[in-house]
């Protein structure tokens, strides 16, 4: 501890170089460990693979390095002072030319927003890596090393994304997480569905990446810089040069939106996330629930001031509506699926919709808080699903599992899942309750096009969420004990004596992690009550101190006058919106849970009967059918995008093969051959024929020269 304080004293003693509002303190380069440790673990895992290591060593290496990253992040947090630091880690690109320059270094922009993110990213990363050390046991050997190398790459890229000081490093991280996601989704590369899912994820993400790349270019063109500190200063002072077109600056939010929708699986780019469940469950938990998919939210939060440029916040309104509609759509699909991991995936999409709604409703605090809580409870939900999959040889169909709570060794799993479900459903006084509240309230408070309707839609979706979440829990963990094994028999049988299947209960690593994260999910409610000037506790503190809150009128007003102004306009059902929302969301959640209990715990046959009845009436049969088929979105994409592209590619392939290869290249190759064959009779080998040719050629030459001379060309 004295060493730490000494270090901080040293750090503070060096004279800061003011760049706008931010100090640059080079001595905190220890922070670079957050990036270098995962890279180191990647290298070591690679070495393990090269040396054909068959133990759990790669897991321990990864867990240790991620723990180191977490500790470093914690240390950064403890030394944090608002408004934030820029820590230079390494030089990267520094160009300058007459009249301008471009600087993008590997440096960290450490303010509260990035600290918030990096804490839960590294924390959850460590825990899930520990979980995976047991989960991935059947793949011990090369696959094991490969998995942990992928996790290390992911953490490196995610840290770079979150801590980046400039858009270029952010883009590096963005692409890096996309790559890691692709690598890890396609982990079981012998399964064609996994390979297809990996490709789908990468390609759909790419569409978003295009948006981000263009946004970065436009940023540079308009503002002359890609570094956050300079960017924020320029925006605040209103000094941005419009180099060529006025609409460049206006286009940036839309492009950022595209990028965020791609990465965070919103309409219409969400189709990759459910398929990404083909990857191993720790991957789904870490990447597709807690961290990578929140990168889109982070991007919008970080560059929030861009969205607030100008008077009409049209981009933000679009974000809010897209978020809300995605939430509704995903919830309806989730209600009709049978694969529990898929249901969780759709619930992730739905909750991400909530977060984007929050961003659009001018509450970055709400969105960030929901990210924080969602990370915990979604992670725990996925981890428990993973435990079930691991123990029941890949069985994920909720019609084939029941009453697991009563099986020996599955208690922790089921109760952890219960905690997760409660948070997800927004049961009163869980963390999910408070965070969802923060978002839903704003729908009735913030002025905007149809936001009240949006609020009611969101409330309805919250009810659906509660329903389908508890559908899963009541079916799988409650009720009579019944199970069927799935199809993955990983090598040796888990006790297949006399043909009776015995489930493989999770052991220490998995159990401990699930327990810790479940406790964390509950504890995530605490920051709400932590003391601070602004309503919302510690999280609000963190968010409002960062660039994520610049420009929000309510927050600005609060910063100026010192007390909080939020929530005095708008009313809900005649009451103050916050109070009303407490009761409303609690009631909605409760109703959802009750319906789920009725249909899936007490009267399961009624659920099947209801479904059959719905399907029989043609008037409304389309609804359940569409829900079960995911609203045919994938089929739509296939018809409009993939099929035409496939046809075009075949046409072009034919063109390439026939016109270019056969006719042009082949034809041109035939030309010398033809000429040679035509001239072959000249070569008879007899001396005189050669002499004739020589003499003839010479005479011809003289003739030609003569002609030239005669007609005065040469003379």
């Amino acid at each position: 501890m004295p060493a730490l304080s000494m270090l901080t004293k040293v750090a503070q003693a060096s004279p800061p170089v003011p760049v706008g509002d931010v100090h640059v303190l080079p001595d905190l380069s220890w922070a670079g460990l957050i990036l270098w440790l995962p890279l180191l673990s990647l290298a070591l895992c690679g070495l393990c693979a090269a040396f054909k290591c068959r133990t759990k060593l790669p897991a321990w290496i990864t867990v240790a390095s991620l723990a180191g990253s977490f500790v470093t992040a914690l240390w950064l947090y403890l030394n944090y002072e608002p408004p934030g630091d820029v820590i230079m880690i390494a030089q990267w690109i520094n160009l300058s030319w007459v009249g301008g320059g471009f600087d993008a270094n590997i440096s960290f922009y450490v303010d509260s927003l990035s600290l918030l993110w990096i804490l839960f990213v590294t924390g959850l990363g460590t825990l899930i890596a520990f979980y995976a050390s047991e989960y991935m046991e059947p793949d011990l050997g090369k696959g094991y090393c490969r998995f942990f190398a992928g996790v290390s790459v992911f953490l490196f890229a995610m840290s770079a994304l979150v801590l980046a000081d400039n858009l270029l490093l952010l883009y590096l991280g963005w692409e890096g997480v996309g790559f890691a996601s692709y690598w890890l989704i396609g982990y079981y590369y012998t399964k064609p569905e996994a390979v297809a899912a990996a490709k789908k994820a990468f390609i759909v993400n790419r569409i978003g990446d295009l948006g981000l790349a263009l946004a970065i270019y436009l940023c540079w063109t308009s503002f002359g810089t890609v570094q956050y500190d300079e960017l924020m200063t320029a925006i605040e002072a209103g000094q941005y040069q419009v180099m060529t077109e006025d609409w460049f600056v206006a286009a940036i939010p839309w492009l950022l939106m595209l990028a965020a929708f791609g990465k965070s699986a919103q309409l219409p780019l969400y189709v990759w996330l459910p398929d990404a469940m083909e990857g191993p469950t720790p991957v789904s938990a870490l990447i597709h629930a807690a961290t990578m998919v929140t990168a889109g939210v982070y991007l919008l939060a970080r560059l929030y001031p861009m969205f607030l440029l100008g008077d009409d916040h049209l981009a933000l309104h679009v974000v809010a509506w897209v978020g809300g509609l995605t939430a509704l759509l995903a919830a309806t699909i989730g209600m009709a699926q049978y694969d529990i991991k898929r249901i969780m995936a759709y619930s992730t999409v739905s909750q991400l919709g909530f977060m984007f709604m929050g961003i659009g409703l001018l509450t970055t605090y709400g969105a960030a808080y929901h990210v924080f809580t969602h990370a915990f409870f979604k992670a725990v939900l996925f981890l428990t699903c993973g435990a079930i999959m691991h123990g029941f040889a890949g069985q994920l169909d909720l019609r084939k599992l029941s009453g697991l709570r009563k099986i020996k060794g599955w208690k922790i799993t089921c109760y952890a899942m219960l905690i997760g479900c409660l948070c997800l459903a927004g049961f009163p006084f869980t963390s999910g309750y408070f965070s969802k509240d923060a978002i839903l309230v704003e729908a009735f408070v913030t002025q905007g096009p149809g936001f009240e309707v949006l609020g009611w839609i969101a409330l309805f979706t919250a009810g659906l969420t509660a329903y389908y979440t508890f559908r899963v829990w009541f079916r799988v963990c409650a009720g009579p004990v019944q199970f069927e094994p799935g199809d993955d028999h990983h090598g040796d049988d888990h006790g297949h004596d006399d043909g009776q299947f015995q489930p493989h209960a999770p052991r220490f690593a998995m159990n401990s992690v699930m327990a810790i994260i479940a406790v964390g999910a509950l504890a995530a409610a605490i920051p709400y009550f932590m003391d601070s000037g602004v309503k919302g506790g510690w999280i609000a503190d963190m968010v409002n101190d960062s660039t994520a809150a610049d420009g929000i009128p309510a927050v600005r007003a609060a910063a100026h006058t010192g007390h909080d102004h939020s929530g005095h306009h708008g009313s809900l059902l005649g009451m103050d919106p916050h109070v009303a929302m407490y009761y409303l969301s609690g009631a909605v959640g409760f109703i959802g849970i009750v319906i789920a209990a009725w249909l899936h715990l007490f009267r399961r046959e009624d659920a099947d009967a209801l479904r059959r009845a719905l399907l029989r009436r043609p008037a409304i049969a389309w609804l359940p059918r569409a829900m079960e088929h995911k609203w045919y979105v994938d089929e739509f994409y296939h018809a409009t995008l993939r099929a035409p592209l496939w046809v075009a590619s075949h046409v072009l392939h034919g063109f390439d093969r026939i016109v270019i290869d056969m006719i042009l290249v082949g034809g041109i190759a035939q030309l010398p051959r033809g000429v040679a064959r035509w001239m072959q009779p000249l070569v008879t080998g007899s001396v005189q024929s050669s002499a004739v040719a020589m003499a003839g050629g010479a005479v011809l030459l003289i003739f030609v020269v003569l002609l030239f001379m005669q007609y005065g060309v040469l003379n």
């Binding site: 072959q680 070569v683 008879t684 080998g685 007899s686 001396v687 005189q688 050669s690 002499a691 004739v692 003499a695």
Partner: protein, 114 residues
């Protein structure tokens, strides 16, 4: 005879004369070439080259007379020298070739083709 020589001496040549000699030389050359390209007997082929030498001789001396530069005739001496040397060696080679194939036919030597 010396009187005749005196008369002939110191008389300039006329253009038409030079043209005549050069055209004749060209024709002889062409005939020699035709013979070289046509005949199959190795020895007769070389004989035709000698004919081409004759054409050259005429051309040299005619042009030398035109300019009254006797290096034309000097060159003719060298032409004779080379012709003799070439004839000797060519015939020796022809004899060797004849010994190999037993015939003087140029068509038997066609190994320079595919």
């Amino acid at each position: 005879m010396s009187a005749a020589l005196d008369m002939l001496l110191a008389q300039a040549m006329v253009e038409a004369d030079l043209a005549r000699f050069l055209v004749l030389s060209g024709l002889l050359l062409a005939v020699g070439l035709a013979g070289f390209l046509t005949r199959r007997n190795l020895i007769v082929m070389f004989l035709c080259t000698e004919l081409m030498f004759q054409a050259a001789v005429i051309a040299f001396v005619a042009c030398g007379r035109w300019y009254w530069d006797f290096s034309g005739q000097v060159f003719v001496i060298f032409v004779l020298t080379i012709a003799a040397a070439e004839a000797a060696l060519a015939l020796a080679l022809v004899v060797l070739l004849y010994r190999r194939r037993g015939t003087l036919d140029a068509e038997t030597w066609t190994e320079l083709h595919e």
